[in-house]
Each structure stands twice: as C-alpha cells, then as structure tokens.
C-alpha cells in the first residue's frame, strides 16, 4: 500500500509554500474495475425488468403496439444508454489518495471535483455495502465532516480489504488527534 505510507513529514517551522506537499502531484488511486461491471449489471437488470413488464403488457393485450408504446420504450432505452455512458466516465474518473494527514477524493464527468478532508476535521468514517456491492465484492467508504453534505465524501467501488484499511487508518488518525489534544 504505497499511498497509505507517510507522505512528507510536517514540521512547524516556517515553510515556504513551495515545500508543502502538493495534492495536484499525487498519483490518484483508482477504484476497482468491478464497479463498472456492477453498474452495467444494474442497468441490465433494470432493462430486463422493463422489457418483462412491456412484454406482459403486450401479450395480455393491455396496450397496443403503437407509436407511443414503442416511443416510450426506446426513450427508456436511450436514457439507460446515456446513463451507462455517464457512469462509464464517472467510474473512470473516480480517484482517491490517502495521505498522512488527509484524504483526497476526485470525481465528476463534466465537472471534476476534488475534495480534501484533513483527518483532524473528520466527524466519523463508515463503510457501506449494498446488495449489488456484496455480489461484486465491493464496498464504499464514507467520510463525514461537520461541514455538511458538500464537504463529505463517498468513495465507491473499493475492494472490501481496501475499504476496511482506509476506514481503520482514518479512525486510528482521529483517535491519535484526540490524544494529542
């Protein structure tokens, strides 16, 4: 785990800002490739359900095979395709770095947003796992601050080991902070 090692030691001397660790230079760690599979599966399951419903409606002759019916179906199909394209790029852009004193998370498709939370401002950390996540052996890490929703981060598509590792690391750091104080 290269990234979970101390990055640069802080000193309390006056430092010129050139010497500060630069978050922009960090190599982002990517989330698991299984996340894309999970998203794809989710969309396919959804599409299948829609098709089954549509099939039943048609076979039972509750609706006729007219323009509206076909139109609605293809609109749903198009929407799912767009969603897939969106998620494809979204999962490609997810990236995170766990550093000695903070955690950095990047996401976004059209707007790339990077949020950095110092560990001494973390309220609590948790891991979550949905049914799909379980099947694909994935876990999410959530980091909460007192700054409200915009400042919290949720890293999706982590392997369970890594999720646990990150959570433990942050929890350990929070306790350390408390003792220091």
């Amino acid at each position: 785990m290269a990234t979970i090692e101390p990055h640069t030691n802080f000193t309390n001397n006056a430092i010129s800002s050139q010497e500060l660790p630069d978050y922009k230079l960090e190599a982002l760690e990517k989330v698991s490739k299984r996340l894309l599979k999970k998203i794809l599966t989710g969309l396919i399951v959804f599409l299948t359900l829609i098709l089954i419903v549509a099939g039943v409606l048609y076979l039972k002759e509750w609706v006729k095979l007219n323009y509206i019916f076909v139109g609605v179906l293809s609109a749903i199909g198009l929407l799912l395709l767009l969603m897939f394209i969106y998620h494809f790029f979204a999962q490609k852009n997810y990236g995170y770095v766990v550093r000695e004193k903070d955690i950095l998370f990047q996401k976004g498709v059209l707007v790339i947003k990077t949020t950095i939370i110092p560990f001494n401002r973390v309220q609590h950390v948790s891991t979550t796992q949905s049914l799909f996540d379980k099947y694909f052996k994935l876990k999410n890490v959530k980091v909460f601050t007192a700054g409200g929703q915009g400042s919290d981060i949720k890293i999706p598509g982590l392997t369970p080991q890594k999720a646990l590792q990150i959570k433990e690391w942050i929890a350990h750091k929070i306790v350390e902070e408390k003792i220091d104080e």
Binding site: S17, Y23, K101, I112, K113, T115, I116, R121, A146, G148
Partner: protein
C-alpha cells in the same frame, strides 16, 4: 452543587395562557380567510347565536387542550446520566433526552405576550441533526436563569475537560483582562439604520406580503377583472413621455415605501439591541416582537461577515453577521446580525471573536471570464427577447425600445465591471477574507483553522484555460470563490497545512 431540577417540573402555571393563546392563534390562522369571507359575504343567512356558540365550544376545547398540554409538559435534569429530559404531548407523548455534551447553548427569548405575563422562553440548542432544539416557553425569570446557569455550567465543564490547553494560548492575556465594553442601539441609531439599509429588500418584503395576500384571496376574485382594467389603463397613455413619467413616479413611490418598510422591519428586529462583552463571551439581546438573548462564544462562530454600504460608512455604521455552528443544513437561520456598530466596536468584536490579529496577505481575483459570463447572461437573453418581441408585435416603438436597451446595456456593463473589480480573496497567515459587493460591501472572514474541508472543481471547458472554482467548507456553510488560476493550488496546500497543524478547538 445543589441538585436543582432533579425532580420533574412543570412550567409556570400562568403559561397556560400562553399555550392557550398560541393554540388559538394557530387554529384560527388557518380559518381567517373563511372568516373574512363570511363577514363580507351573505352574513344575513347565518344565525349569530350558532356562531357564538360554536366559537365558545371551540375555545373551550382549546382551553382543555392547553391545560392538558401544560400538565404533560415535564422536564428535569438527570444528574446520574448527565442529561436533560423533556416529556410532552397531549395526544401522542414525546420524550426528548439531550446529553450535556450535545448542548450547544442555552438562551432566552420573549415575545410580547411572554413579557406581559412575565415569563421567559428558554431555548436549548443541541448538536447533531437527529435532535432538534427544544423550547420551554413559560418559565419565571428566576427559574429560567437558574436553568440556564445549571446547563451552562455543565457545558463549560465538558469543554474544559476536552480542551485544557486553551488557556495557554497566546491570546490568553487579553482574555483574562478583557476590555469590557457595551454597544446599544438608540432610537436615532435605529432610524439611521432604517433609512440607510437596503431599500430593495423592503420592496421585496412588500411583494412577498402582497403575493401571500393574493394567494389567500385569489379564489375570491374573478380572474380577469384586474388584468382588463390594467390593460384599459395602459391604453389610455398616448405618448412615450407619459409612460416614462408614470414609470418614474412608480419608481419613486416604490422607493419611498421601501424605506418605510425597512425602517419598520429594523425597529421590530433590533429594538433595544444591547451587546455586552463579558469575560469569555459576547452577550446579545434584542427585538421588539420576540426578545432574544444569545451568548456568542468565539469557538461557536465559524464565519464572520462585515457588511456596510457607502452611506452607512459615512455615518460610521457597520454590521456584523455571525454564522454559528449549526446542527441542521439550514445555515441561513443560524446567522446572527448585529447592526449599527461603529468601526471601532466592529473591530473590537471581531478581535474578540478571533484568535489572531489580522494581517495583510496575498490577494486573488477571479479570471476576467467571470465578468464576460455575467455580461453575457445579463445582456444576450434580453436582446434575443427584444428581437423576438419586435417581430411578434408590429406596434412597438422600436427606436424607444433600442434607446432603453442601450442605456441598460451601458449601465449594466459599468455596474458589473465595478462589481468585478471589487471582488477578491485574500489569504493571510491565519485568515481567509473574501470581499464582494459594489453598493452593499461584504467581507467574509474565516479563520483558516475553522475550515472543515476544501473542494476544488474544474469543469472540462475550463481545463484549457487552467481555471478552477474553489469551495471552502465550514461548519456553518460553504464559501465559494470562482475562476481562479490553477496557481491557487499552492494556497490550497498551504490552507490544508494550516488546518492539519492546528491544535485549536474549532468548535
């Protein structure tokens, strides 16, 4: 320590009146439109005895409800588990428990009725979104003060246990021997404030008032009556000159009404405002309709805003707006305004609320793109609308219209350019200061160690220009700064370094 409030207690019995009146008010509020309708409409069909009888029964039911509500409202301090407990409810019962370490602050509030019957509202604010603040609406002064003291003593105990090193801070010398001072708003100050404050806000309030009235009555009026009348009225104007005159007259009228409304609003909100500095907090008391008392502790203030406009600056009037740590997402509600401060006192108050002296820092400005964007959105849609309209209606005075548009474009350009020039972000050793505003100037001041996290966002279309938007997250809301160059990254690194090395308690 005496164990006051260890037994379940009720509010002052006179509080029944308060509960009764507020329940009556609440239930009548929903019915007032019907009442007005009944009075204006065919009253002769109603039998007055039935109305009186009905109202009496209604009032009696509410009285019974009030008494039950009073009897079921019980609160006490659980000394064993370190918590404050409240039981209430008539139809359903509710049990609220707040542990001492979750209590943010305890303050008093008084409405006119509460002042008339001589009781106080004690409000207990707590952290965490699951528990809301609780209000005990009718306590005698003696009890209210005792309860506040008790709860405050627990809070400070908790705090001292957590942060024992706070007193070794460099600023502690000033804290031990503080310069006590007081700030009061006199009748004259209030008048001055009312005249010099934001008239457009006053105008906005009128609009809100009338639109809510309209909503209440809309089904009582026939729909087209007014529209027709207005159309007829407009048709009577022949020349452009007359229209200009009318517009001018309307503008002046709106302006004057705006001033009057502002003055009234300011009198209601800030009547008898008193700000006193005690050893470790600023005590604030104000309000005509509801009298609020708050203690402002430096550690609770997350964002400080200093607001003024050119006229107010001439009169040496500054407004402080303090954003406190809030338990909910509604940050706006947790802002406290202290208007009418002289420059000196505003400085003193800020100095007291901040750990460090403010120093000069590096300033940043948004990229010019910000201005171009503003100009685009302010002008282009209007031009398109004008062109489209001139095609639809043949009888538009196109020369007049274009003169108006030209004037607007020029004024808008000058205005936005000035706004752009005034906008800046300053980062100094301990502070983050964002300045904005052309007329109403706002300075947003955040101590760097009170930041919770920082977000940097970059839309793909700004990648080529190497521009980013910055969001600073605090425990009482976000502060954004748009379109700075990627160079700003080094300041983000610096700020993170400041947060991560800070040992100050941010809350």
């Amino acid at each position: 320590m005496s164990k006051a409030f260890s037994q379940p207690e009720r509010q002052s019995s006179i509080g029944i009146i308060l509960i009764f009146l507020s329940a009556l008010y609440k239930s009548l509020r929903g019915l007032w439109a019907i009442a007005v309708y009944a009075l204006l409409g065919k009253t002769s069909q109603f039998n007055y005895t039935y109305i009186v009888l009905g109202l009496t029964v209604f009032a009696l039911l509410i009285l019974v409800f009030s008494i039950l509500s009073y009897r079921n409202f019980l609160f006490y301090i659980n000394y064993e588990d370190d918590e404050f407990v409240l039981n209430k409810g008539v139809f359903s019962s509710e049990n609220i428990t707040i542990s001492f370490d979750k209590i943010q602050q305890v303050y008093f509030k008084r409405s006119i009725i509460q002042r008339m019957i001589g009781v106080y509202s004690v409000v207990i604010e707590s952290a965490g979104s699951s528990e809301k603040e609780i209000e005990i609406k009718a306590l005698s002064e003696e009890k209210a003060v005792l309860l506040q003291k008790k709860l405050h003593s627990f809070i400070s105990e908790e705090h001292e246990q957590e942060k024992p090193e706070l007193s070794t801070d460099t600023t502690s010398e000033e804290r031990i021997s503080p310069t006590y001072w007081e700030h009061r708003l006199t009748f004259n100050d209030l008048l001055k404030l009312g005249i010099t404050s934001n008239y457009f806000r006053g105008f906005g309030l009128i609009l809100i008032f009338f639109s809510s009235l309209y909503n209440q009555f809309s089904d009582l009026f026939k729909e087209n009556e007014y529209a027709d009348e207005a159309a007829n009225y407009l048709n009577t104007f022949q020349s452009v000159g007359e229209i200009v005159m009318v517009l001018l007259f309307m503008f002046v009228a709106v302006f004057l009404v705006g001033i009057v409304v502002s003055i009234i609003e300011i009198f209601i909100k800030y009547f008898e405002l008193k700000l006193t500095q005690s050893k470790d907090s600023l005590e604030l008391e104000m309000g005509l309709k509801t009298n609020t008392k708050v203690s402002l502790h430096p550690h609770r203030v997350q964002i400080l805003r200093l607001i003024t406009n050119p006229i107010q600056r001439k009169l040496n009037l500054y407004q402080l707006q303090l954003s406190l740590t809030s338990s909910t997402e509604t940050h706006k509600k947790n802002r406290i305004n202290i208007p009418g401060l002289s420059w000196d006192k505003a400085k003193k108050a800020s100095r007291f609320l901040h750990q460090h002296e403010r120093k000069e820092g590096v300033t940043y400005k948004p990229h010019q793109l910000w201005l171009y964007r503003r100009l685009f959105w302010g002008i282009v849609p209007l031009l398109i609308a004008a062109v489209v309209l001139s095609f639809i209606f043949d009888d538009l005075h196109i020369p007049v219209l274009s003169i108006f548009i030209l004037i607007y474009v020029v004024l808008f350009f000058i205005y936005q350019r000035k706004v752009y020039q005034k906008m800046q972000l300053e980062i100094s050793e301990e502070f983050l200061v964002k300045s904005t505003g052309l007329w109403s100037k706002v300075q947003v001041v955040i101590e760097t160690f009170k930041l919770q996290s920082i977000s940097v966002s970059q839309p793909v279309w700004l990648r080529r220009r190497k521009l980013v938007n910055i969001t600073f997250h605090t425990a009482s809301g976000d502060v954004r700064f748009p379109l700075v160059s990627e160079e700003f990254v080094k300041q983000v690194n610096y700020l993170l370094y400041k947060i991560e090395t800070s040992t100050n308690a941010w809350m």
